[in-house]
């Protein structure tokens, strides 16, 4: 692959790194990363991966941009309110870096479409940037089934965390840690939730770092660890997590052989407001 002069200049701060170099930048330009959810986590992840020159970025989201998203979902702007999030995301990325081929999937993931979306471009790495437990378990199981590495992230209030799953590596999956979605009646309402806008930036950017390092094959990653961040105490903690032998999807005797669509009442601030 021949770099243009513009590309050499655009990626010069990468190329100058001995761990990346021309070869590494070429790997990035040839890589394909799927981002599921273009919200708090997915938006910053998508922007840094696009800036880094990841050649193919898949964006999956079935929502439209809402004014309340803009406090943290920095890929979308005020003028984008009402637009499908994947379209708004694609437009921002195209302006940022014309080297990136953006593939959009204007749909929410479910058991019928997720494996096809992953297969569509045979993505190298997947970022879970979703905001709900049914999607998180679905993405986990789909990645275990299709042997795809992925980064799982979560944020709430002033807390955030992430972990990485690498197939065939003896490392735990999301279900090893969290078995199954919490019962719906214990999940608090939106009024008790909320999130500091920067949390998505911090955790989403760490997820992007995991993706880039996986493609570049440098350093160690968060496979087998949960990294937690507490913004109130300004504390990071890296917790070793073990494979769970009784995990229903990747344990010694897996019982989950098919994808599951869990039901969880989605919390919508607008509905809550109007129902008052």
């Amino acid at each position: 692959m021949d770099f243009s002069e513009d590309q050499i200049e655009r990626y010069s701060r990468h190329i100058i790194l001995s761990e990346v170099g021309v070869e590494g930048q070429e790997k990035l330009l040839n890589s394909k990363i799927l981002i599921i959810g273009t919200g708090g986590l997915g938006a910053p992840a998508a922007m840094y991966l696009a800036a880094a020159g990841v050649g193919t970025l898949g964006l999956v989201d079935g929502d439209v941009v809402d004014l309340s998203n803009l406090q943290r979902q920095i890929i979308h702007q005020t003028k984008d309110v009402g637009k499908p999030k994947v379209q708004s995301g694609k437009e921002t990325i195209n302006k940022l870096n014309p080297d990136v081929n953006v593939i959009t999937y204007n749909e929410l993931v479910n058991s019928n479409n997720i494996l096809d979306i992953i297969k569509d471009q045979d993505y190298d790495f997947i970022i879970d940037g979703t905001d709900n437990f049914p999607a998180k378990f679905l993405i986990n199981d789909a990645c275990v089934f299709s042997k795809k590495p992925f980064s799982n992230g979560g944020i709430i209030r002033f807390q955030g965390q992430l972990t990485t799953y690498i197939p065939d590596n003896g490392t735990p999956c999301y279900r090893c840690i969290f078995q199954s979605p919490p019962p719906a009646n214990v999940v608090p309402s939106c009024r008790e939730a909320g999130v500091l806008g920067v949390m998505g930036g911090i955790i989403g950017t760490l997820q992007a770092t995991e993706a880039l390092k996986y493609i570049l094959k440098i350093g160690s990653n968060l496979a087998g660890y949960l990294l937690t961040y507490d913004a109130i105490k300004m504390e990071f903690r890296k917790i070793k997590v073990s494979k769970n032998k009784s995990c229903k999807v990747c344990g010694d005797h897996p019982t989950i052989k098919k994808l599951i669509d869990y039901k969880q009442a989605a919390c919508d601030l607008k509905t809550e407001k109007s129902s008052k």
Partner: protein, 71 residues
């Protein structure tokens, strides 16, 4: 007896179960927590029958969504 809770050394009384330690550590929503004891996950159904021992290392791992819902 001495145990390590979420990476920090603590002195707790003997014979305490996982369920009790979740209470004394002020975990408001134990249903939203996964527990790892000495690097092995404890089945949620066994929280009340699992008793902590001297020098045990226990970690609470929280369910986290993406800011819209979550815990």
């Amino acid at each position: 007896m001495k145990v390590t809770i979420n990476g920090k050394g603590k002195d707790i009384k003997k014979g305490v179960t996982v369920t009790e330690v979740l209470k004394t550590e002020n975990v408001k929503m134990p249903d939203m927590v996964s527990v790892q004891l000495n690097d092995e996950f404890v089945d949620r159904n066994n929280f009340s029958s699992t008793v902590l021992k001297e020098n045990d290392k226990i970690d609470f791992l929280y369910f986290m969504g993406g800011g819209n819902i979550g815990f």
